[in-house]
Amino acid sequence: MLTLPCPFCGQRDETEFLNAGPTKPARPSSDVTDSEWINWLTVPENPVGYVEEKWWHAKGCGKFFTIKRHTVTHQIMMPEEDSA
């Protein structure tokens, strides 16, 4: 069970959070093609390595925030940190 760094509450137990999926690019404007829309909607990144994703502090302060999590080791870092 992870601990996650809530920007408001600090390090908290994973059970207080809900995962809200990988960070998506900005919502496309209405003039994109259908296939561009479908791509935005249904094709998330799924790397072996760091994935940038959203978490919701649902049982805590209610903040949605972004972290980078390694999909193999569960190492967590902040999105601005270098994951190279």
């Binding site: 601990t3 209405s30 829309w37 959203k54």
Partner: protein
């Protein structure tokens, strides 16, 4: 009177004044307070007490602690539970236990017929044999035959389990010499410390060692350390507690079996520390020779433990077989205790055997191997094989075996740490740690006590400094030196004959031949061998067998063991009661539940309670005297249609939404237009998820400019809240919108039916509630029966309805008043069964029935709710794309099934011609309609709207039912009644 034929006259740390009676496999025995089940059985001479997993071979106790691979028991009665190693079960009065893997008893086991077919049951046998027609056909009977303990039935007496958290600086696993020292240093430096040990008493191997510390018996030093730790309020010391799982971020899962709080049966700890010190010691391994599983063959360290701890020597005539120096200390003990020793067989050459042999007066077979053990249900003799191949048979009834020591790296490995092969130890030791932890003592491969202690001091001191503690100077106690540990690997003995069973993994019944077979068939990596043979799986998790498996793979493939590597050690380290994981989440609280202020009134009235989504308990229906469920539902439904009813609508989700951009946000969420909604009015809306499926529906009222009260369905309130917060925080960051959940700030009693207005007037209401002043879909603030209330005119029943919202503190009084004032009007409370009937008659949607995350609004005939002008609403784009394909869709229809009185099951498929082929739709709801006096249903049917009037066929299990397709509304299609 205790008759323990294998108990020494004196010695051990049992309480010889407290006799404890217990039962094993239906027979009564006695032992002493301080015994384990295993030590008591051995003291009583019960040596055959298990059958093996696959072949049902006779087995006895081999170990003395968590490493025990064969004697697993099921506890009965108050302790009911399965798969405990007998060596870890504390003897207590009235204990009842039985062996897990034999029937009817270990000495007469019917399944032992498997032994005769052993040649036919090699590794992979099940995979190869039970392929046709499919494995699932055979699985149940195979599982029964090769099973572990059955789960206890639900009739066992209630045991209270508890789970709790612990947060601290240093968590030490193991209370042997290194663990105690680590805890002592950490606690003296001011850290908050937890130390966990799986034995009932601390000390680890010090308990059976002749070492002296500061010239006193080692155990006295351990006791003094514990006394100091116990006096420190920042230290939590747990004995008889196993750390069985190592999770991310230094979280350890610990099960405590003897909590001080008497109302707690077991406690699960989720303990998280800044630093973990693993002082888990080492586990002795077996040697691989023929019949090395026979009762009477035991690990040398286990025999030593039984002698020191319990005053038990489980044999009259002992033999020792070793490849290392550690087993000699047992010989010294047995010699001192007066047990006859037939000899020590040591596979090492005599020049490799050092000071450990000094002072022993017994035959030493150096450079010899023990080729085989002999006996039926118990050891009677062994065959010793000399270097030249000559053999000699020697009688004995106890064989103590030591194949060397494996550092207990299980937790380290669970923490993703990597392992390295150590040639001197012929075993794997911790290499690179992946979490903030350190291994000390034997767990780190430091087998020499004196140097291990010095290493522990420096390692723990360095960790504490790194963690910003200031460890004070610490002077080590003085230890008397012991002979150095020395070993020469022996992966299996020579000279075994075909058909000899030599086990590498006793618990999973994996033999040396099985390893060879797996490799010949191409399963030659360690992970494949594990899966093909099951070695190292299950409860054992490679405690005694794993390194022998790896060593033998290496030997067979002419590689070094470090080229073979290890498999992953999994949690739990030892079997764990589910109760200690679930904790207090059992019994009344096994599932969360939510009440309204009216819940108790409903129960008192005799309502049958249902879970109505989002954990709310609601009345299903109110039984009436002399009637069945349908009678009760009919009475409630008729009250609403022809008189008046009232239901508790409190669980409906409610959100207060305001802020500069609130109107724009409402417009983004709903597919229909809200821009022209007037203050004080509400509108029904549908919101979609991004993939264009219906997320929720409900009515939103406009309270003021940019201030709304949104209601959602009961079950999806949390989902809608998350959806809204996601959009606001991630996509609309610059918008000013505040959302406050107010579901529980308001309770509502919904009065509905043609006489609803009369009841409300009779209650006393401060405003004009005539249809002109207070139209359908309006909301008004008013005083009702002397209480401030918000009244909403919405209808989920198709009748005139007044939703009277009050603060919950007033809800019970309001409800009672409504029932009292309503009585002359024939008011009845209405349960969710009746609400269901009423909404099906009207064709109103229900999430989870018609709306199942495949339907969009067009499918439900709600084209009107898809705004023509507003294309940016969430989900709109996806709906348009999907519909542009022109593929046929399932559409909402009404159905008139011809069933002759029985309801059709919800979910029943509609198939072309009623054939057993792919369905063309399904029944989403089916009820008896009180207004139509017949069974009606709703369903989704491919191209349904074009098929009205057609007869389709429903398959309900074995029934085949004709139904006429209709419009999805059976009552007041123009909605005149609800607007009246």
């Amino acid at each position: 009177m205790t008759h323990n034929p294998f108990r020494q006259k004196a010695g051990g740390r049992i309480d010889r004044n407290s006799c404890v009676e217990f039962e094993f496999n239906g027979k009564r025995y006695s032992g002493y307070k301080g015994d384990t089940l295993a030590s008591a059985l051995l003291a009583n001479g019960v040596f055959l007490n298990a059958r093996s997993f696959k072949y049902h071979r006779p087995r006895g106790i081999m170990g003395a602690g968590v490493e025990e691979p064969s004697c697993l028991v099921e506890l009965l009665g108050a302790d009911a539970g399965g798969n405990y190693a007998a060596t870890t079960v504390q003897l207590r009065p009235g204990l009842k236990a039985k062996s897990v893997n034999c029937w009817p008893s270990p000495s007469f086991d019917l399944m032992s017929i498997n032994q005769l077919f052993a040649r036919l049951l090699p590794a992979g046998f099940y995979y190869k044999t039970f392929m046709w027609p499919n494995w699932h056909l055979f699985e149940p009977s195979i599982r029964r035959a090769a099973g572990l303990a059955a789960a206890p039935d639900d009739q066992i007496p209630y045991q209270h389990f508890e789970t709790r958290y612990w947060h601290g600086d240093v968590l030490v696993v193991g209370a042997g010499s290194s663990g105690l020292l680590a805890a002592l240093i950490a606690s003296r430096s001011g850290a908050r410390v937890m130390i966990v040990d799986d034995h009932p008493l601390p000390g680890g191997c010090l308990r059976s060692s002749q070492t002296k510390i500061d010239e006193r018996p080692a155990i006295e030093w351990a006791e003094a350390v514990c006394a100091e730790l116990d006096a420190n309020p920042e230290v939590t010391r747990l004995q008889d507690a196993t750390a069985w799982g190592y999770r991310e971020d230094n979280l350890l899962m610990v099960t405590e079996r003897s909590p001080a709080e008497t109302h707690v049966f077991q406690r699960g700890w989720k303990a998280r520390a800044g630093r973990v010190i693993l002082a888990t010691g080492a586990i002795e391994r077996n040697l691989v020779f023929a019949n090395n599983d026979l009762p009477g063959v035991m690990l040398a360290s286990a025999v030593q433990t039984y002698y020191h701890e319990f005053g038990v020597i489980p044999g009259r005539h002992a033999m020792i077989f070793t490849n290392n120096s550690s087993a000699y200390s047992l010989a010294h003990d047995l010699q001192a205790g007066g047990t006859m020793i037939a000899g020590i067989v040591d596979s090492r050459p005599s020049n490799a055997i050092g000071a450990e042999k000094d002072g022993l007066d017994i035959p030493l077979y150096a450079a010899n191997q023990l080729q085989a053990a002999h006996g039926g249900k118990h050891l009677r003799a062994v065959t010793i094989r000399a270097a030249d191949g000559s053999t000699k048979r020697v009688d004995c009834d106890l064989l103590a075996v030591s194949g060397g020591w494996n550092p207990a790296v299980h937790l380290f490995s669970q923490a993703r740490g990597t392992l390295a092969y150590d040639d001197a130890l012929a075993s794997f030791v911790p290499d690179k740690a992946m979490q903030r932890l350190a291994c000390v003592g034997a767990a780190a491969g430091k087998m020499n006590l004196v140097s291990a202690i010095a290493d522990t001091l420096s390692t723990v001191t360095a960790c504490l400094s790194e963690d910003n503690f200031k460890p004070s100077a610490f002077s080590l106690p003085s230890f008397t030196a012991l002979p150095d540990y020395h070993l020469q690997p022996l992966w299996h003995v020579d000279g075994m004959k075909p058909g000899d069973k030599a086990f590498v993994d006793i618990q999973n019944d994996v033999t040396l031949d099985d390893i060879g077979l797996a490799m010949r068939e191409g399963f030659d990596t360690v992970e494949h061998v594990k899966r093909y043979t099951t070695a190292g799986m299950g409860i054992d998790q490679g405690k005694t067998g794993n390194v022998n498996v790896i060593g033998n793979i290496a030997k067979a493939s002419n590689k070094k063991p470090d080229e073979i590597g290890t498999t992953t050690f999994r949690s739990p380290f030892t079997p764990v009661d589910f109760g200690s994981i679930a904790g207090q989440r059992n019994g009344a609280t096994v599932l969360p539940f939510r009440h309204t202020p009216i819940t108790q009134w409903n129960k008192d009235r005799g309502a049958v309670m249902y879970e109505a989504g989002a954990r709310w308990q609601r009345p299903g229906y109110f039984p009436i005297n002399g009637g069945n469920m349908q009678d009760a539902i009919n009475a409630e439904a008729e009250a609403v249609r022809y008189g008046v009813g009232v239901y508790d609508g409190s669980p409906l989700g409610k959100f207060d939404i305001s802020g500069r951009d609130a109107a724009a946000f409402i417009d983004l969420l709903y597919t229909n237009d809200f821009a022209d909604l007037e203050i004080g009015m509400g509108r029904y809306g549908i919101m979609l998820s991004d993939d264009g499926m219906i997320l929720d529906d409900g009515v939103t009222f406009k309270l003021a400019e940019n201030h709304y009260l949104m209601s959602t369905s009961t079950g999806f309130a949390d989902v809608v809240f998350r959806h809204m917060e996601y959009l606001l925080q991630i996509e609309c960051e610059s918008w000013q919108v505040w959302i406050t959940p107010v579901t529980s700030q308001w309770c509502n009693a919904t009065i509905c039916g043609p006489k609803a207005r009369d009841v409300l007037e009779a209650l006393g209401v401060s405003i004009d509630i005539g249809n002109d002043a207070f139209p359908f879909m309006a909301m008004r603030e008013a005083i009702v029966a002397g209480t401030p209330a918000r009244i909403c005119r919405v209808s989920f029943t198709g009748e005139v309805s007044f939703e009277i919202n009050v603060w919950p503190r007033h809800a019970k009084a309001m409800w009672r008043r409504i029932m009292e004032i309503g009585a002359p009007f024939g008011i009845l409370p209405v349960g969710s069964e009746t609400s269901h009937v009423l909404r099906v008659e009207k064709g109103f949607l229900s999430l989870g029935h018609e709306v199942d995350e495949t339907a969009d609004p067009y499918d439900l005939g709600m084209d009107w709710i898809m705004s023509r002008t507003k294309t940016h609403a969430i989900g709109r784009r996806s709906v348009d794309i999907r519909r542009s394909s022109g593929k046929p869709r399932r559409e909402l229809v009404g159905l008139m099934p011809k069933t002759g009185g029985e309801l059709v099951a919800e979910g029943a498929p509609i198939t072309p011609n009623g054939d057993r082929v792919a369905s063309e739709g399904f029944v989403s709801a089916c009820v008896w309609s009180v207004v139509n006096k017949q069974i009606i249903a709703l369903g989704l049917l491919t191209d349904g709207r074009a098929r009205i009037g057609e007869t389709i066929i429903i398959r309900d299990r074995e029934r085949v039912i004709d139904a006429v397709v209709t419009k999805p509304c059976f009552y007041d299609p123009k909605g005149e009644r609800l607007r009246g």
